[in-house]
Amino acid sequence: MSSVRKLLRVCVLTVAASVIFAGAGSAHHSISGEFDNARQVTGEGTVKEYKLINPHTDIVVAVAGEDWTLTFGPATKLIRGSGWNEDTLRPGDRVTATGRPARKGLGLYLAALVKADGTVLIDDLEE
């Protein structure tokens, strides 16, 4: 199954079942540190802040009354490699995110990010 199809399946499940991040499954990835490689979670929320910065881009998303910080790679990677800019996300945008949860606090290292209109912004889910 392609990563995008897998992501779409995840989105459907998410919308149908939950608006709260909930742990499931496992993932092999080369990011660890303060994020839990053994778990992968998915959730849907509303963008509050979008910081296209280095060394890690942060997106603050409101999920069921709580603020989650979604973290990804450097702005340089997103700008040059994926064409991101200051307008890629705006406060109020609905997004569905999948990734590894922070060991402390409400954080997620992104593996996938999709806007409500279906635009796939990040697709790093493993096969």
Partner: protein
């Protein structure tokens, strides 16, 4: 007749010298004409660099290995607070880089962490009176078409994000050669770390880069972040 042969030999020597003299200029022009992008072991060109690996445990002296095993990036890594990575870490981030070269000076810029590094090209010997710094004191020279950079006066910090130590005895030698393969141009780099307080023998890293003349280096402008939300260590 003999004088004729002698003249031919002298002409050949002059021609060889001219070729050697010209080669650095050609290489320098190629180096300066483009951003250079890191190519990883899978042949992927990375748009913003990447973790390039660490020296294996087997090449570390016992004390250095113990230091690395006790390294905690949350408290011990100056880069976490946007401090300078220093050499060779600035290089081994696999960052896109540029070269600006004159007869007297080479300036190498690395996009990641906005590192700018000066290399003295005027033949002056390393000056041991200069203070130790993260990037050290670098001198460059040409060996044929190979650019060779020697670095001393490095301060003590870490080589990578796993905390491989870097002592005050560390010196570096980098060798840069432009090569063509499969119709593509590559910049091949061998970087040797000499540090008898850390390694069992000089440790050599090899890196490949490709030209990206349509790129420009971006300002990195590192922002310090909460440690609880910091991806710290590459696990595999």
């Amino acid at each position: 007749m003999l004088s004729g042969l002698g003249g031919f030999a002298a002409w050949s020597a002059l021609a060889a010298q001219a070729a050697l003299a010209q080669a650095p200029a050609e290489v320098a022009a190629k180096l300066a004409a483009s951003v250079w992008a890191y190519v990883n072991a899978d042949g992927e060109v990375l748009v913003s660099g990447s973790f390039t690996g660490v020296p294996p445990d087997s090449v570390l002296l016992p004390e250095a290995l113990a230091a690395r095993q006790s390294f905690d990036f949350r408290t011990d890594d100056p880069v976490l607070g946007c401090g300078p990575p220093g050499m060779p870490r600035a290089f081994t981030a696999g960052s896109p880089m540029t070269f600006a070269l004159t007869d007297e000076r080479l300036t190498i810029r690395y996009e990641s962490m906005d590192v700018e590094r000066a290399v003295v090209m005027n033949g002056a010997p390393p000056d041991e009176a200069v203070p130790r710094t993260p990037n050290g004191y670098a001198t460059g020279r040409w060996e044929g078409a190979t650019l060779v950079i020697s670095t001393t006066q490095l301060d003590e910090r870490v080589v990578d994000l796993l905390g491989t130590p870097k002592s005050d005895a560390m010196t570096l030698e980098e060798r840069y050669t432009i090569d063509a393969a499969d119709g593509k141009t590559y910049l091949r780099v061998d970087l040797t770390m000499n540090d008898p307080k850390v390694f069992t023998a000089p440790y050599v890293w090899h890196f490949d880069f490709v030209p990206r003349p349509d790129w420009e280096l971006m300002e990195y402008e590192c922002r310090e972040r909460p440690v609880d939300l910091t991806p710290g260590v590459v696990a595999d």
